[in-house]
């Protein structure tokens, strides 16, 4: 890792040193380009490359609800973790999502339904192409386990509560048996309990 970062920094240093030798600019090359190209035909950007990847005009079809619905379900494979629609309208350096968008359009043009388009992407890329695991086979584990956890937790809490409540009821019954027996300090268990309750209420 050290060697790798050192070599990349060496490359950076060489490039920077080369740049130093070539010029000592006050403005950036991009700003110079703006000045040089002033007077170009109206509507053209002086430095198009600074505006990111050149893009084509968006048509109504690109933005259609069906296209959005499909593209929100499939993942861009560039590694961004976003769905295709979000990636192609967000990460303007990505070339993968626009290509996948064109695939979606082409497949819809060929007469495929939404389900068929999605199936074709799965055939091409595997299950990881979907933004959520398809609900079948082992993938059900993903969806079911949180609720299994909830059911188990509910069961445990209820069982624990019942046990505690029963234990308390049994304890209360046992303490009633030697009725009239004064507890330590001269107070009966009932009196102690009442005192405790009063204290709790006062504190609350």
């Amino acid at each position: 890792m050290w060697r790798k970062s050192a070599s990349s920094l060496l490359a950076l240093a060489l490039a920077v040193a080369g740049g130093l030798a070539a010029q000592a600019p006050r403005d950036s090359a991009l700003s110079q380009a703006v000045r040089e190209r002033t007077g170009n035909s109206l509507g053209r950007l002086a430095v198009p490359e600074a505006a990111g990847r050149s893009t084509a005009a968006v048509t109504a079809r690109d933005d259609a609800a069906l296209v959005q619905a499909i593209e929100h379900q499939i993942r861009c494979t560039c590694g961004c973790n976003l769905d295709v629609f979000t990636c192609r309208t967000t990460d303007f350096t990505c070339t993968t999502s626009p290509a996948m968008h064109q695939l979606v359009l082409a497949r819809l043009d060929s007469g495929m339904s939404e389900a068929q388009v999605l199936a074709s992407f799965q055939k091409q890329y595997g299950e990881m192409i979907f933004m959520a695991p398809p609900k079948r086979g082992f993938n059900w584990m993903a969806y079911v386990m949180p609720y299994v956890g909830l059911a188990v937790g509910l069961g445990l809490v209820t069982a624990l509560a019942r046990r505690l409540i029963h234990a308390r009821a049994a304890g209360a019954a046992a303490s009633e048996a030697p009725a009239g027996t004064a507890a330590a300090g001269g107070a009966s268990p009932e009196e102690l309990e009442k005192l405790k309750r009063e204290l709790e209420r006062f504190e609350a």
Partner: protein, 676 residues
Amino acid sequence: MTDIGNIALWITLLLSAWTVVVGFVGGRTRRPELARSAERSIFVMWGLLVIASVALMRALLTHDFNVEYVAAYSSRNLPVFYTWSAFYAGQKGSLLLWALVVSTFGSVALLVNRGKYRDLTPYVAATLAIVVLFFTATMVFASNPFERLAFTPPDGRGLNPQLQNPGMVFHPPMLYLGYTSISVPFSFAVAALISGRLDTGWLHAIRRWTLASWLFLSCGIVLGMWWAYVELGWGGYWAWDPVENASFLPWLTMTAFLHSVMIQEKRGMLKKWNIGLVVGSFLLSVFGTFLTRSGVISSVHSFAQSNVGWFFLVFLVLAAVLGFGLLAWRWPMLQAEAKLESMVSREGAFLFNNLILLVIAFSVFWGTLFPVISEAVRGTKVTVGPPFFNQVNVPLGLMLLVLTGIGPLIAWRKASPENLKRQFLWPTTAMLVTAVSLAAVRMTNAWSIVAYALGAFVVGTVVQEFVRGTLARHHLHGEIYPLAFVRLVGRNRRRYGGYVVHLGIVMLFAAFAGLAFKSEREVTLKPGQSVDVKDPYGDTFHITHQGVSQYEQLNRFVTAASVDVLRNGKYVGTMKSEKRQHLDSLGRPTFEPSTEVAIWSTAREDLYIVFAGAVKGTEEAVYKIVINPLVWWVWYGGLVLALGGIITMWPGAQGGPTAASRRRAEPAGYVAQVGV
């Protein structure tokens, strides 16, 4: 200076190892001189880590590009404001920051508890030293921020443009503060387990720390959402990215702890559970860093990946063995002092609240790791993205919202039918009126209706509590209403601060429910052309493209696209979205162009416009236009939540432990030590 920083790291490493030994030995053998040595070593470590941090900061400010870290994350034309971000932009700097913050919190914890909890402090110092030892060892042996290059480049690579945003100046440090401050409660939990002092005394020592951790995490998460929203340009603020999830997990367990600890303080119950939650929260904070650094799971935070992730995994396993091993050892000593009287009680509501929080944490954890599990079991990779998390967590979140409302309405120990009727009447009315009203205005999304109705229920609960409390003070003490309100909150900060937090949570839920009505579209406009966009309230935005301009600004070349916006024919303003090509000090492009979003924000909705690009190098622009209802409520909900947290942890006698809690600390001899 960097050499001094490097030496300081080495001394910290040796000193932390010393502290671990003398702390545990001193605590075990009850030798006060060893215990004092351990405590003092924490202060010295803090001083050494401050020296190391100053050394790194100085290297960044003086552009010492011979230091590999400085060359990799800064440049001569990086604004000074973002030099601070460069400190933790990379892994090496963030490790140093983490170690510094742990030692700072450790020093403060030992300072404010000086002379108290003498049985615990040697173990606390030793446990904190283990954490510092781990971080300094990782730095010294694998990821040294003072590592030098064999040559000195004339300029550095610069800071990732996405990190050159005010949100990034505050969001990562806040999360670090949240993660690291959990080390203090963890250290006290370990100390209590080792020493056997397992009454509520140790809880008093960590009460404000747990609140502080929770507050820092909350602020860090909301700031991260804000950064993602304004900087990444995808129109949302939470993507269920693994690293986002990793910050959410300890927040959930800390929230559970802040509720269940009340049961322990009041009734002496749930002792095992509470220690388990503290240990679990610490482990989840380390797990978050492991996810960020290891690259085990694909994440948008990939700029932070490295090979030290496996160091974190080993540390995680060791910390889990230590924490849960000690818990198992002391299990018999952690018996409840009271029994549950009824499930229809505050304790019962808190139990269910804890259960739901833990199930949400489990579902997030499970979903985050499911790609790895699927690959291990089936050999098939799957993606677990927002559709999965939303589907699984929305019902759980709504259950939590129900319990947020129910909890404060039910009495401790056992609620009577009269009590329930009296308490539930107005909140339930508010809930039903809201549901019927939303159905009457033809709101179509059932989940959203349920969320708003339950939100109204919680607000009804909180308002009822404030109104009744204020009226009671007015009648009892004859105070005027505003004074009665202020004193009510001031004298029961923990309780009413908690209610303010609940209001913040409702605001957040309201914002999340608004996502159901989000709409987005792409349009291409030539200068002078317009597009009409309808919002969910039926209003129309008339958006006219004005043109694209290019100019140089600070360390970047800007391409700005402007639109004029009218709502229902009324001028709203001119909005400008930018593409920024960052430049090095020689004026040459660095990094890919980044996007700056234009946002017009109101309490009702945000108009979110992204300049997606120029068509074939002309002023014809492609825009992504998003209508985001109720996003404002996320930011202000976060503020209200933070305000509630601050009220709750505000210093003073009224914010301290309850009388019941103090009484529970008595048997172990902590009574003279309380009153922090």
